[in-house]
Amino acid sequence: MFESLPLQKTGVTFRNMLEETPKSNVLTYEYFFNGGGVAVGDVNNDGLDDLYFTANMKPNALYINQGNFKFKEIAKAAGVSCDVPWKTGVTMADVNGDGYLDLYVCYSGKGDPEKRRNKLFINNKDLTFTERAAEYGLDDPGYSTHASFFDYDNDGDLDMYLLNHNVVVIREFEYAKAKQTRDPYAGHKLFRNDNGHFKDVSEAAGVKGNPLGFGLGITVADINKDGWMDMYVSNDYVEPDYVYINNGDGTFTDRMTEYMQHISYFSMGCDVSDINNDAWPDIFTVDMLPEDNHRQKLLYGPENYEQYALMVMNGFYFQNMRNMLHLNNGNGTYSEIGQLAGVSKTDWSWAPLLADYDNDGWKDLFITNGYFRDYTNRDFLKYKGDYYFEKLKANEKADTFHLVSTMTSTPVHDYAYRNNGDLTFTDVSKAWGFGAPNFSNGAAYADLDNDGDLDLVVNNENATASIFKNLSREQHPDLHFLQVSLAGSGMNTRAIGAKVKFYTGDKIQYQEHVPARGFQSAVSDRMHVGLGKIGVVDSIAVIWPSGKQETLRQVKADQFLMIKEDGNAKAVRPPAAHPNPVFEATDPLVNYAHVEAGFNDFKRQPLLLTMLTACGPVMATADVNGDGLTDVFVGGTEDNPGKLFVQNPAGSFNEVASPVLGKKFTDSDALFLDVDGDKDADLYIVSGGYNEYKEKADALQDRLYLNDGKGNFTLASALPDVRVSKSCIAAKDFDHDGDLDIFLGGRVIPGKYPATPESFLLRNQNGKFENVADAVAPGLSHIGMVTDAAWLDINGDRWEDLVVIGEFMAIEVYVNEGGKRLVRSTDKFFDRPATGLWNKMIVYDFDGDGDDDIIAGNLGLNTQLHASPTEPLTLVYKDFDNNGSIDPILVYYLQGKPYPFPTRDELLDQMYSMRKKFTSYASYADAQLNDIFTNTELKDATILKAETLESVYLENTSQKLVPHALPTQAQFAPLYAFALTDFNGDGHMDLIAAGNQSSIRIRMGVIDANFGQLLAGDGKGNFRYVPQGESGLTFVGDVKSLEMIRAGQDNYLLLGVNNVGITNYKLRKK
């Protein structure tokens, strides 16, 4: 779809040539290879966008667009060539409000500060410019990356944010001190425009200026849509990104930790734009994670939990090395869905640019990338030091520059992603013409030939700049567009900060007019919108920076509009977001703090994917004292036992002393049930966890407390030995003899994951339980790592069947044959076994056909892992090195081939024998399972499989359980808890789904994009995601349990959050 135009055609010969010398190289200046920027804009107001490129070391270039992709270079004559290094970013803006675009060029480098002063070139309107930075107060000598001009105080003129970076490394131990300081050169700055003179107001405005800031991206946007422009600042290395929310009083507050759950670690460029057409700006940051297995394996070192913990504890937050797509939920929360969207790994990336390149009405994504020297290669760290020794041995002088200049260099192709319109993107890099490997940095889009599609301009390193002509209009003339130029009143002549909404049918497209974005670059200041097949836009609403709004109706497509702010514009107030959410957070009813003892399961089995200790808090509800009110039991952890809370008539809850619960247990499930037929609620607490438990530890025995009918509990000795770490209890009178029998699911053998633990079927014999699993249900006792189970009559024979799910397990069905036998009948109900990493189920007749259906929570789709029948996730295990420990090797598909998930360090730590096999990172970088193990070794290994990671609705047709994927939003995170309520009173049961997983390997990164999701049922088995703003749910953390209860006059949703406790939301009255 894009054609790379040769320089012979365009005349654009610009190259950002970098010359490494002993004095000037990536060792002496670590941002040596960050590359140059590009700004696009019509500097001579002839209707054609012109180009300005920065070169780090050589002269910059200004190309005047002569039409038909012919350009003429005039930098020298125009007085803007900036011959002396070190130049970085560039932006165009009409700084003096005379209707002509001016140029602002940023400088960095380690040399003389005087040579680092940024330059402001004021347009003389005759293709010449005059440098007047000092006069304007913008000749800052900092280490600048980029700048963005916008009106932060809504006074009608352009202010400026200056993005700076440091040039010296600050190590962990210096962070605390560094954070307190404001660095004149490295610190970021905000300049306020006071009648044409810019004043540094950083400190007063609350803009951070510490030397830890390695700013690489600034995109201005009205993130919370309150009419005041906010800023997203991406920082390289440990300093977190900033989400500066404009307080409207001249100050900003960094609300990153409130808005984001985690962020990119080595954040590079960023863009802020609405990717799902809900009129809320989403945030995208790029990082350095390579797409292919080979480069990932060269890059990843050992996981270091202590160092990560230090980072988090020192306030640097949860950071992971991958691109992050923060989906704006419209209520101040963001769901990070980069992995689900398929845009999380584009190698060492610089400029992300969200725009509708194919005119289908959805914003696509273009990303530049590449780093000239592979110095993050682990072999370099570990083995290149040998060079110094070798030199000394040979009695020669070691030359560090030699090391630098012989470092490998791997060019990578740019990435293009087509927006599928459903929160996912498809990689079209090659299809769209970006397959050529290169090193590319700054980039900008513009319709250079005014044909109605966006062309791309890219500043490459040590190669000619690229001009990519977009062929969309030629190839798809039926897909329409509109382009809008904005003319604001006053000094902000280009109306930077204006918001434009394009309404077509029930669809809305939202754009904010801020040209500086991506990386060191500025895009065209003519706004482009693709319209798909729609020929007429119903209306265009422009909200000017002044706050006034005007609307154009019935606008024909395929034209270039100029919209001027004039007297007709009316002042409007932004509407309140969501006046009546379904749920409202209220003060906690049940005062229980859930405290994990801090076990790190990865220390015991380093190749676990998630920790298994963190399985609570669980809840059970019942009326324990016969007063008609619902009471709540909350399960505990090893040092902090669970507690029972009894509801009083006022609707509040009191902790009670009975039952007396001992320490040492990890409660993994709990259930009130009447085991002795005395019509009261007895309490069964399931013991689970991983902790430091031995295989048959006493702490794994369950506890059954009998109720005297008044809520006094005594421990019963009715249970057989069930000392296995379990996950769940499911009770049912499966043999119809009048008492409740119990299924207990075995979760894990502590220290021996993923070996199969025992599960139990306990038959109730006059209040005593006997394990009859092997006799009644062959195979059930070792069905897998069970996470949940439920009894339901699937086949309509009035005998409740048993459904069991688990990690690396199929959804298993045991048909109840007259209460005598439970027969494994999975194959009958599934055309193909539904293997997954299942966590939780809830049962209800969702389609109203008279039988129960199932919702089953899986890992979800927002991780680096994926699975399908042709590309399953497999877990291969045995004690390969015969040393007494199980070696579980996760194998996953990457680019169509299966690779081991563990990094070289992890594998070598698990099996010392591998140290001989893989003596370098490179030797392991392409290893597949059969390179690690011989066929003989693999022959008797056990293989567990997962073919789907989607959470599903299982429709019961009484012959089959038919899986249907839950809505995309429900795939944002693993689902661990469900609750049911008909929130809108439409007679159809609705679902609340929650989960997340933060007890997870560092490399996987916390999965936390689920803030509690309300899924509206239609009574036919379909579910509609209710936006967070409407549902009012803002769960944070790992939710392990949900309960709907009535307390006082209201219905409440209780949620159990791991290591936090029980919080609640009140359901809005219908």
Binding site: N304, Y388, Y912
Partner: protein, 436 residues
């Protein structure tokens, strides 16, 4: 029994003194040995073998050389190991030098991760003996087979020392109470070999056999003994003399100090404390002109001593699990203070270098006598100048205190470490040369 023991020693010492410099070949042989021991060090350097792991590699590789020599000549004293090798039949025309060196390399090749790097050395060794010592191809083939047989036995022995079980234990977890070890800057590397105490020693009855005195208890009280020690490290580090600085650097022996240029990191490597003492052993052997079998014996005794010294030390390190000066000073005194040397990634008490150096000094002194003066040139390839010593004891004491100068140990870890090491050295010597 005592008499027997002294006979054996006398024999060794005689060979050291009376036949010194008599024979060029003898020199050549010892040079060959020490060169090839250094080849082992080079592989460890490349692999970044940590200090205890390095001591284990030296021990088994030297044991290979020792067994090959002992079996083909029968003149070396019995070291009273816990295991007995089955005697291999030497080829008709044995060549002790070739067999012992080849076996040593073969054991190293099989045990060390990048042992394959020694294949080239083995080829060169064969070539050397063919051209310089006129061995025929068929002779070499026989000797190689013979050596491989011995190496196989030694490797089997090594494989039974629980090394392979180390990965089955729970990894190190920082304790919650203050005063304990926590990963240190700049790399915050994971704790090295927390379960090394489970490795089977050659002579010690148990890893805890020579447990040192308890470390001075951690305290934030500025008048406490701990605080005084911490302050000593801090103040010493701030006022290092040129000599102290030289001493600290000379004994750094950090296999992997990460150096940063910008955010580009590169690991700078030195031989481990064990490697340093193997180098000193070679210097002493060459200086005195001992015979090859004596040199093999001395190297083996040193390596086995190092092996058990590290087990003893590592038992204490993870038992007391004490905080490093860098972490303590940063927490209690000065967050910006950095030691001269990079803090190694394992607990502080006792100092590994102090234990190992003291233990080896004991056995080297027994071999070469007290007051054995030498010039230590073993750090030249690591950019450090030669250094003169008047005795092994003096060197060991300097190595111990160097850790305080380097800012990575408190005084009691150096002093108690030296005592611990001396006990290990004495015990190992007695065990080796006493007929049970």
């Amino acid at each position: 029994m005592k008499l027997r023991r002294y006979f054996a020693l006398l024999g060794i010492l005689l060979s050291i003194t009376s036949f010194a410099q008599k024979n060029d070949r003898r020199h050549e042989d010892v040079q060959l040995l020490t060169d090839h021991v250094f080849n082992l060090s080079e592989v460890m350097l490349h692999d970044v073998a940590n200090p205890p792991a390095a001591s284990r590699f030296y021990a088994y590789a030297m044991l290979g050389a020792y067994e090959a020599s002992a079996m083909s000549q029968g003149t070396l004293p019995d070291l009273h190991l816990r295991w007995k090798m089955s005697a291999a039949t030497a080829p008709a025309k044995g060549n002790t030098a070739f067999c012992s060196l080849y076996t040593m390399l073969e054991v190293g090749r099989q045990l060390m991760p990048s042992g394959y790097l020694l294949e080239e050395k083995q080829k060169k060794l064969i070539q050397y003996f063919k051209t310089k010592r006129k061995l025929s191809t068929s002779q070499v083939t026989g000797l190689v087979t013979y050596s491989q047989g011995i190496a196989a036995q030694v490797v089997a022995l090594a494989r039974a020392d629980h090394y392979n079980q180390l990965s089955t234990y729970t990894r190190y977890k920082p304790q919650k109470e203050e005063g304990h070890w926590f990963p240190t800057p700049p790399e915050y590397m994971a704790a090295v070999e927390p379960q090394w105490k489970t490795i089977v020693p050659f002579f010690l009855d148990s890893a805890a056999q020579f447990a040192p005195a308890q470390p001075t208890p951690y305290s934030k009280d500025t008048t406490s003994a701990f605080y005084r020690q911490m302050k000593e490290v801090y103040v010493t580090g701030q006022h290092l003399t040129i000599e102290q600085r030289a001493i600290a650097s000379f004994w750094d022996c950090n296999p992997f100090a990460v150096s940063y240029s910008g955010h580009m990191a590169i690991g700078l490597k030195k031989i481990s404390p064990g490697g340093h003492w193997m180098g000193i052993t070679g210097i002493a052997c060459r200086q005195t002109g001992v015979s090859l079998d004596s040199a093999i014996l001395i190297h083996t005794v040193v390596a086995l001593t190092l092996h058990d010294a590290f087990i003893s030390c590592w038992q204490e390190k993870y038992g007391s699990d004490r905080i490093r000066p860098e972490a303590a000073i940063n927490k209690l005194m000065d967050p910006a203070w950095r030691p001269l040397l990079q803090t190694p990634p394992f607990p502080e008490y006792t100092s590994g270098h102090s234990v190992a150096s003291a233990a080896v000094a004991v056995v080297l002194t027994r071999f070469f006598g007290d007051g054995f003066a030498y010039t230590d040139s073993s750090e030249i390839f690591f950019g450090l100048p030669e250094r003169k010593f008047t005795s092994f004891q003096q060197a060991a004491e300097e190595a111990a205190i160097s850790r305080l100068y380097g800012g990575i140990h408190f005084r009691d870890a150096c002093e108690q470490g030296a005592i611990q090491g001396k006990k290990v050295g004495d015990f190992v010597w007695t065990r080796m040369f006493t007929k049970k």
